[in-house]
Every structure is written in structure tokens, then in C-alpha cells.
């Protein structure tokens, strides 16, 4: 059975990846999962300088999901390279580094630093961050700004570029086409959906940051729809993300057009979620006598 897929130049042994920010730097889940068994490990979003993140409370459970306002806390690209990358390389994992910045230049700088670093298979560019220079408008919510940032990062690195799209937009396919034109090698979607929860006793938001990003099975139908919308109009591989809890969910995304999938919130519920999903996919393929997972991608009929 051939489970391998190629994501814009990154060869994955199978389509099951971890979603950025839900799997730490890999080592946290090593007691549960053989890191080298997965398609790839996507690490927590990294910026040029360390960032403290938002004040707590940072998470709150919702029906079938959770809100987080971690605020992209991370140790910065230098400490990542020095402290976290060696362990990951040793583990034998395929490593994808998720990066972000608050200006176009910062995106470029992080990408450039990682370009020279051994052991990294690709970058995932999180464009769901506010552009501080342009007054806080989210890069990923405007096709032109999205083009600009991807175009700039494209020139800063030779590594394969996966652009991670924000779902908080009217037309995600438009943004997708725009970053494809800017030189993206692949797309991943969706990031979290902006949401909120209120404590009715204190009359305060349940998150100190007021709003946060919704993830988990609650958002799966929305994510699946967006993956389908994007995969039909783009030529580069799409990675499906959003509420994938089990192999059935993963297969829905693959049939909708995703060449690979990422598992996020499910890791918290079941630390072995990724490997369980992988073996569930294998079982489906063998039950359905499908020899190569690539032949399942985008096979949705009645379109």
C-alpha cells in the first residue's frame, strides 16, 4: 500500500501531519507517538523574536470545540534552532516549521534564517496574523496583502512553502488563488475561526484576550467546505485541517481534495490521535482495495 504523498516538493511517507500549536515542538507527544511514523511534524508557530503570548485565561471549552487565545507565544527562531530542532531531527521526523511575523519583512527574516538550517523540509506560513504596519489588517484576509507576503517570503527562502489560510474571509478561494500566483507550493487550511465566550456571572469574556480561535470537531463542516472550494480552483496541493478527530474525518478531507491532513485539537483528547488516524486510513484503503492513497484524493462525485 502506498501512503506517500508529495506536498509541493515535500515528500511525506503518509498524509497524517500534526497541526501547528497543538503538538508543541514534537517532544511533548513523543511518549505517545513515534514522531518518525507521521507524515510530518508541524511545530508551534515561530517568530523572529521570542513572544510571551497573551495573558491567561487562554482557553475555554465550547460545544464540540475550544477557543484559544495563546497569542502565538513562542521561543523565537534562534532558540528554536538551538534548543528544539536537534531533538526533532534526532527523532527522524519530517519537520515543517510554521512561521509568522507582524510585518512582511519579519516573515522574510524568519524564512531566511530557516533557509540556512539543516533538517527542515518546508515552511508553513501562517498569514492569519495582523499586519502591524498596515494598522492591524490580517494578511490572510486580503488577497493583495496575502500576495505580497507570500511573494516576499518566496524570495527569502528556497524551502517549499505551504501557505496556511484563514477561514475568517468571504471568499477563501480568492485568497488561495492569489497566494498560488505569488509562488506558494502548497496550501493548508483552515486556521481557527474567530469566536468568543462570556462568563454570565462576572460579565467578562472567558478569555483575557476577549476573542480567540475556535478549533475542534465543531468547525469540521466549515473546514471541509473550504478545502473543497479551494481544491477545485487551485493546482497546488491542499492540506486539510479542522476538527479531524478520526480516520473517517480525515478521509472526508482527502475525498474533498486534500492531499494530506493535519490533526490539531484531537491530540488533546487522544494523544495517540495521529497514529490512530493513520491506521484507520490504512484499514479503509485495504478494505476498499485502494493501493495508492493518491488515487483517493479529490474523488468526490456528483459535483
Amino acid at each position: 500500500m502506498d501512503l506517500s504523498v508529495n506536498i509541493g516538493g515535500i515528500q511525506l511517507k503518509n498524509p497524517v501531519m500534526t497541526a501547528s500549536g497543538t503538538f508543541g515542538y514534537g517532544e511533548e507527544y513523543a511518549p505517545y507517538v513515534g514522531l518518525d511514523k507521521l507524515g510530518a511534524i508541524v511545530v508551534k508557530g515561530i517568530s523572529l523574536k521570542p513572544r510571551p503570548g497573551n495573558p491567561p485565561p487562554r482557553i475555554v471549552e465550547t460545544t464540540g470545540g475550544m477557543l484559544n487565545s495563546i497569542g502565538l507565544e513562542n521561543i523565537g527562531v534562534d532558540r528554536f534552532i538551538g534548543e528544539k530542532l536537534p531533538y526533532l531531527i534526532d527523532s527522524g521526523a519530517t519537520i515543517i516549521v510554521n512561521i509568522f511575523g507582524s510585518s512582511i519583512e519579519e516573515y522574510g527574516d524568519v524564512a531566511n534564517k530557516l533557509d540556512d538550517t539543516h533538517g527542515i523540509s518546508g515552511l508553513e506560513i501562517n498569514i492569519s496574523c495582523p499586519n502591524v504596519k498596515e494598522g492591524g489588517i490580517i494578511f490572510g484576509s486580503d488577497p493583495h496583502m496575502a500576495f505580497e507576503v507570500v511573494n516576499f517570503v518566496r524570495q527569502s527562502t528556497k524551502l517549499p512553502l505551504i501557505i496556511k489560510l484563514s477561514p475568517n474571509v468571504t471568499d477563501i478561494a480568492e485568497i488561495a488563488r492569489s497566494v498560488q500566483d505569488a509562488g506558494a507550493d502548497a496550501l493548508s487550511l483552515i486556521n481557527t475561526i474567530k469566536g468568543m465566550a462570556i462568563d454570565i456571572e462576572t460579565k467578562t469574556p472567558k478569555l483575557a484576550n476577549i476573542t480567540g480561535g475556535l478549533s475542534g470537531p465543531a468547525i469540521k463542516p466549515i473546514a471541509l467546505r473550504m478545502v473543497w472550494e479551494v481544491a477545485r480552483v487551485t493546482k497546488i496541493p491542499v492540506i486539510g485541517i479542522g476538527g479531524i478527530m478520526n480516520a473517517y474525518d480525515a478521509l472526508e478531507f482527502i475525498i474533498a481534495g486534500a492531499s494530506a491532513i493535519q490533526v490539531g485539537t484531537a491530540n488533546f483528547v487522544n494523544p495517540k490521535a495521529t497514529v490512530d488516524i493513520l491506521s484507520g486510513i490504512e484499514k479503509y484503503l485495504s478494505d476498499h482495495r485502494i493501493g495508492d492513497i493518491k488515487s483517493l484524493i479529490g474523488t468526490l462525485s456528483r459535483e
Binding site: 503538538f23 508551534k44 491567561p56 487562554r58 464540540g64 475550544m66 495563546i70 507565544e73 488533546f268 494523544p271
Partner: protein, 278 residues
């Protein structure tokens, strides 16, 4: 750290809305230290979605190794704990653990003051057992226990059976001292019934407001104090960065309750209105 499906041995109401659950789980029992916790998946469905954290109340190890259990003590506060209260003997329960850093117990402790508020009594029982077995120089082991009413004062007999001296405060005066557990702590420190300096240690678990007070009082006396914090958690393995607490190293230097804690030195924590779960 392990994830497993274990059998429930018992699940009984010990006081209105408070339950004690015993779980047959040698993997955790054999490794767990007082102050560590477990993550419980309360349902096979996706609502509630996240696991719930519960500190280890008691560890029972069998000599033969053929049987050993952990106990948790919990209060019904929402849907997750509500579902747990309906679980029955022989039911399976999905656990992750043991998680986090437990109490650091200095072998030279002479006086140990345990301060518990409400469900905060939970970790103190296994802690008391461990102190007794580990600290050969122990002279005095005292527990100050507080609650809203008598129903919130838990496990007094269990502690007394260990030889712990228990003093109780209730806000409604339904049991012993009417007032807060911090009153008991102030009285105790006033009385000078303890050897000052490094041989006295304080261990506290309870609501944030109590911990904040206790930390302040204890700091003034120069006694070391370990506190057990709560926080909303998702992963419990240090991966999601969701459970952080502010530290004194700066308003925006955070520690993870799940991985750096849940037990912290009280001096580390920066208290403000939004510390952990507030």
C-alpha cells in the same frame, strides 16, 4: 506518562456533591507522586470534548503488584463532573497520567502545615501519607481545613487516622471555627508552635483567593510554601500553552501549570485578578 482504559473500583458520594472514585490503575499508581494529577476523558462522545484534570487524592500500592489503585476526590461543578458522578463500578474510564510535578518533600521537615480549602483537601491526603513515611525527623503535622459549610470539609477522619492534627474553619460556622482557613493559619503562626526556619514547610491547595492570602502570610514569616494551582487545560503535556500562569519574573513571563506545575513555590507566582482560572 500513559494513556489507558482503566476499571472503576468504586465511585461514592462522600459528602453532598463530593465524590471519591477509586480506579484500578497500576501504571499510574506505581509512578504517581503526591501533587501530580490525571486527565480524565469523561465521555466517548465529543461533548464534553476536553479531558478534565484531577489531582491524585490517594495512591494505594499492593506489595504483590497484582493490584494497585489511585483515588480521586472531586466536586460536581459542571457537566463533566456530573457525568463522572454517574459512572459505576466496573465501568471503564479513559485516563492520562500521572501528569505534572508533584510536591517536593524535604527529608528534613520537622513541622509541616497543610492548608486546604474545600476540594483543595484532595492532594493533601497522599501528601500527608508521603510526609509521614518519608520525613523521619517529623515532629508536627498539622492540617488547617476550610470550607463554606460542614459539607465542604472533607476527609477529616482519614487525616486523623494518619495522626494528623486537624483544625477546621467554616464560613457559616457549621463546624468549629467560624471564618476562613487563613484565620486558622494566622492563629497558628501567632502561637509560635513551630520551629521557624527551614525545617517548617507549608503546603496549600484551594481556591486562588485562599492561595494568594496564604502565600502572602507565609512569605512574611519566611517559611517556604508550595501551592497547587488550577488552570484551564487542554493537552496537559506542555504542548498547547493554554494553562499558563503569570510569574514574578515579569508580568508576561508565563509558566505552564500542567508541566511546570501544578505545584509551585508560592514565591514564583505573580498574583493578579486573572491568575489562572480566576
Amino acid at each position: 506518562m500513559h494513556q489507558m482504559l482503566s476499571k472503576i473500583l468504586f465511585n461514592i458520594e462522600v459528602s453532598p456533591t463530593y465524590y471519591k472514585m477509586g480506579i484500578d490503575c497500576p501504571e499510574i499508581a506505581s509512578r504517581a507522586a503526591p501533587g501530580q494529577f490525571i486527565m480524565v476523558r469523561v465521555s466517548n462522545q465529543l461533548d464534553p470534548l476536553l479531558r478534565r484534570p484531577f489531582v491524585i487524592h490517594r495512591i494505594q500500592r499492593a506489595n504483590t503488584g497484582s493490584y494497585s489503585q489511585v483515588e480521586i476526590l472531586y466536586k460536581i461543578v459542571g457537566k463533566g463532573t456530573e457525568i463522572m458522578s454517574e459512572m459505576k463500578e466496573y465501568d471503564d474510564i479513559d485516563l492520562l497520567g500521572p501528569v505534572g510535578n508533584g510536591y517536593k518533600i524535604d527529608n528534613n521537615i520537622r513541622t509541616a502545615v497543610l492548608v486546604g480549602g474545600g476540594i483543595g483537601a484532595a492532594p493533601l491526603l497522599s501528601l500527608a501519607e508521603r510526609i509521614i513515611s518519608q520525613c523521619s525527623k517529623l515532629k508536627s503535622l498539622i492540617l488547617l481545613l476550610g470550607g463554606k459549610g460542614r459539607a465542604d470539609v472533607l476527609c477529616v477522619e482519614e487525616f486523623e487516622r494518619l495522626g494528623v492534627e486537624v483544625r477546621v474553619a467554616t464560613e457559616d460556622g457549621s463546624l468549629e471555627h467560624r471564618g476562613l482557613v487563613v484565620d486558622l493559619l494566622l492563629d497558628y503562626l501567632e502561637s509560635g508552635d513551630y520551629s521557624p526556619g527551614s525545617s517548617t514547610h507549608c503546603f496549600a491547595c484551594g481556591p486562588d483567593t485562599m492561595l494568594k492570602e496564604v502565600s502572602k502570610i507565609i512569605a512574611e514569616k519566611g517559611i517556604s510554601c508550595q501551592i497547587s494551582l488550577e488552570s484551564r487545560m487542554a493537552c496537559a503535556v506542555g504542548a498547547c500553552l493554554g494553562c499558563v500562569v503569570r510569574t514574578k519574573a515579569g508580568g508576561d513571563v508565563y509558566k505552564k501549570v500542567c508541566k511546570d506545575g501544578p505545584v509551585f513555590d508560592s514565591n514564583e507566582i505573580f498574583w493578579d485578578e486573572s491568575t489562572t482560572i480566576g
